[in-house]
Symmetry: C2
Subunit: 255 residues, 2 copies
DNA sequence: TTTTTTATTTGTTTTTTTCTATTTATGTAA
DNA sequence: TTACATAAATAGAAAAAAACAAATAAAAAA
């Protein structure tokens, strides 16, 4: 009986079967939107960092666990954006290739070869504070420009595109972009972040006017680049002011 | 061994374990937003129509299967809005109560008593075309005003609220409301739908101007109510025009 | 000091949205 | 058959936002 074989796998003792979790970890550097990818040992196969849910673990906690393992960060902005459940999502062949690349044999009935429904989150992290670290199966964990990504395993390319689409929507009605910014940044930095996510050019003057009018940016310093021109101001996102405004907004809705 | 006992359950032969699917089916009638609920036999326990995913079935197909069973409709507007995976989502006690209400004993190790992660969709249907039908375990399947719902089983109240929040967002950037409208409707009908979903009053004159300016409404007839006032126009949603505009929009993005 | 470059600010025009008022259609009743 | 009440629809003014254009400011180099 197939089930009994599968249940002997140690994975099945610990994790919920047929469900996985994948994270699209976004960062921003050099005016480019980056995604954190893993490469499996001895292969050119790339994938999103993912994992499985402990039987006694909240879904969200399992994502945080993965994020911590991969970026060393906690208290990260996290958003669930979709669950992928095509019946094609059974990747025994791919797992076999990965196993054989490190000289292991792969049991086609292995727990991990079954069909998986995967719950996906995107995370917005400060690129400059993250230390990407590969897992035991990977020899590389690094950032890739979202426009220059390699082909990913499974349906992960599609998942990244959905994550981006979802982030784009969120940008319109919530101030989430600052989670991708370093502590201090110029208006140009911020604008190019918006531009990459939205996939279109914005007008500098209007962008600045709008951002400043939000009243959540604190002008801290100037950024001397050594260039032959006026130095750009450095801004800081004022989290306290933002939270105050959120509260006021919540109150005014009731009125 | 617990696993072996569980695997003997016929449910485990057919369905993916630990994953369920729930649908929040929205309808609109008498200027009220309605949700389709099931009541379990001999109880006052209400729940969303849900089910499980066949091992060889796409996630989305399983939702459509449930929708068809419950509303008799196909080609329904469907949107995945969230997956709920708290570790508390194991409802053996509740299932026991439901079983005992119809004089059955309940095995606490039953397949259905395990922890479930549930993938949730909302559906927008034409109230006037749906024939709600209960399943074998239910003695009632009917519409409830979203503001006058009974307490639901499990975490289904929370799920409905999330569905509404998600629909509200969608309303802002996609013309989905027409899926809830009958073939013909007055501007007032449409406005009150927007108002219930958004949870706020809109200005009649602005609403009308904006809707008409979209160029997707076809004025068909007048609705004589017998009231001592001008008769309201009846409109029809022009799906063809809408799809044309979608195409044009897609083209213009590339420019 | 002047020039060049990019950041930032200011102002003007255009478009969109909001607010206010008017006109239209319908049934009722003087 | 004419005034009246009611609600629908439209039109126009006011305000706000977005798009566009220009000017000013700061920095380094010629």
């Amino acid at each position: 009986m197939q089930e009994i074989i599968l249940n002997e796998d140690p994975m099945s003792k610990r994790y919920l079967p047929n469900i996985s979790v994948d994270s699209v970890i976004f960062g921003f550097h050099n005016r480019q939107l980056k995604v954190l990818l893993l490469r499996f040992k001895n292969t050119e196969m790339y994938a999103l960092p993912g994992g499985f849910i402990d039987k006694g673990e909240d879904l969200e906690d399992s994502v945080k666990r993965i994020l911590l393992e991969r970026t060393g960060l906690h208290d990260i902005y996290l958003e669930q954006f979709g669950t992928f459940g095509s019946k094609q999502r059974a990747y025994g062949e791919v797992h076999k290739a990965v196993a054989e690349a490190i000289g292991k044999t792969f049991d086609p009935n292995a727990w991990v070869a079954q069909r998986f429904v995967t719950v996906c989150y995107y995370a917005l992290v400060d690129f400059h504070n993250t230390i990407p670290s590969p897992d035991p199966a990977s020899d590389l964990c690094d950032w890739f420009d979202i426009n220059e990504m390699p082909n990913l395993m499974f349906d992960h390319n599609e998942i990244v595109q959905q994550a981006l689409a979802s982030l784009r929507l969120m940008l319109d009605h919530k101030l989430v972009a600052f989670n991708l910014m370093p502590d201090m940044f110029t208006m140009n930095d911020l604008q190019s972040l918006y531009e990459t996510i939205l996939g279109k050019k914005l007008l500098r003057t209007n962008f600045q006017r709008k951002m400043l009018s939000l009243g959540i940016l604190e002008r801290v310093d100037k950024q001397w680049t050594g260039g032959a021109h006026k130095a750009a101001y450095l801004y800081r996102f004022d989290k306290n002011k933002y939270e105050e405004m959120q509260k006021e907004e919540a109150n005014s809705i009731g009125k």
